[in-house]
Structures are given as C-alpha cells and as structure tokens.
C-alpha cells in the first residue's frame, strides 16, 4: 500500500483517515498544513506547488518507514497537493494511528517535520502586492550575488 499521495486534486482527509483506522488503535493524530494569508509579514494571495515526483514519493516512503521503526504506531499515511492553491486550502496532510496517543502524536510530528525538510517540493508565493518568489530561494540568490 502506498503511504504517500502527491496529487493535483484536493486531499480527501476522511477517506485517508479510513485507511489508517484500526481496531487495535486507541489513538489517531493528524496534521493539516493550510495556506496562511501571510508569511514573514507579507500578505499572501495564492501559492503554486511543484514536486520532483519520483524522488518525493520515494523519500516520503522512507520517512514513514523511519516513523514505523522509531514509534509504536500501526499505520501512517501522508499526502501533498500540487499546483495552484488559495489561502485556506489544505496543502499537506499526515495521519497516524497507534495503540496509544503519545506515539501517535510523536510520529505525526516526526513525519510532517521530515516531509517539510526533505521532500523535493517547492512553493512559489504570490503576494498581494503582485510580486512572487520561490520560498527559501530568495536568500540563496542574494548570497550567490555576493560570491
């Protein structure tokens, strides 16, 4: 079973929750990343996501396997949107079921943290003032110009 979905369509969280449901589990922790209306003081109007899909999917699968080893959990799934998203939209989802809640929380946190750090996914923020930039790349570019 695939443990990570990368999709243009909205994420059906209720259907994914059903896939991690388990009568052996007493706890289910989930996380949703929503598009905020501002980032670092700038008013955000919309975002575009793109991914290097084969590597993103492989890396997400590694992350879930790490979580299964580190924590006593039964099931973990995650999903990430691609394409154009608006403020309030769900960009990323993680769901984890476990016998006990401490592991469900810890694994859910681990997976979202690693997804954000390691998956080759990028977002371009479009601001209310009409400007746009690739997040995390503006600083790198200015460093490069100093070289």
């Amino acid at each position: 079973m695939s443990t990570f979905l990368l999709q243009k369509e909205p994420i059906d969280t209720a259907a994914l929750r059903q896939r991690v449901a388990d009568p052996d589990c007493g706890g289910y922790a989930s996380f949703e990343g929503w598009i905020r209306n501002e980032n670092e003081g700038r008013a955000v109007s919309r975002l575009e996501y793109e991914a290097y899909a084969p590597l993103a999917i492989a890396e997400a699968h590694r992350i879930v396997n790490e979580a299964l080893k580190r924590f006593e959990i039964n099931n973990a799934l995650s999903a990430h949107r691609l394409g154009a998203l608006d403020v309030g939209d769900l960009a990323v989802w993680v769901g984890v079921s476990a016998p006990h809640r401490a592991d469900a929380f810890a694994a859910c946190r681990y997976i979202i943290d690693e997804i954000k750090q390691r998956l080759p996914i990028w977002k371009k923020e479009h601001y209310a003032d009409g400007k746009a930039q690739w997040v995390n790349c503006a600083q790198c570019a200015s460093q490069a110009s100093l070289v």
Binding site: A51, H80, I121, A141, Q143, A144
Partner: protein, 79 residues
C-alpha cells in the same frame, strides 16, 4: 556523453525550460552545474542545492554516465 536534465522551481524558470538533453564533457554533477550556471546564469550556489541522478540523491562528485537523468534540487519548501 548525453545527459538528460529536469529543471524544477526557480531553476526551471531561470533555464526557461522543464527539461533538456545535452552533450557534455562534465565528469560530475558539480562540473555540469558550473557549466549550466555559465549558460543560464543560475543564481543559486551549489552549496544550497542537492543533486539526484536517476531519481536518487547522490554526491556532487559521483561520476556521470551516458544517459543519466540529472536533477538539481533547490532548497525545498513543502508543506
């Protein structure tokens, strides 16, 4: 040697293309990226990137082989 390159995010925009196949004498991804910086004026320094060959992360000093598919990975920002 023929190499396939896929571009993403800021590199895609600066290269003005999603992918290309090119002939190169570059022995490594590091060497190849330098050549592409000259061609496209990429502003991202290599230290801020990661690189993958054939859909797996790899070292900048790995030897390129004919037909390899190379992707330079700008700083990620998922979520």
């Amino acid at each position: 040697m023929q190499i396939h390159i896929d571009y993403f995010a800021i590199l895609r925009e600066q290269a003005g293309r999603q992918r290309e196949t090119l002939q190169t004498d570059a022995k490594t991804p590091a060497h190849l990226y330098l050549q592409l910086c000259e061609q496209y004026g990429f502003e991202l320094i290599q230290a801020r990137l990661r690189v993958a060959i054939n859909d797996e992360f790899c070292d900048w000093s790995q030897n390129l082989s004919d037909g390899d598919r190379v992707v330079f990975i700008p700083p990620v920002a998922g979520g």
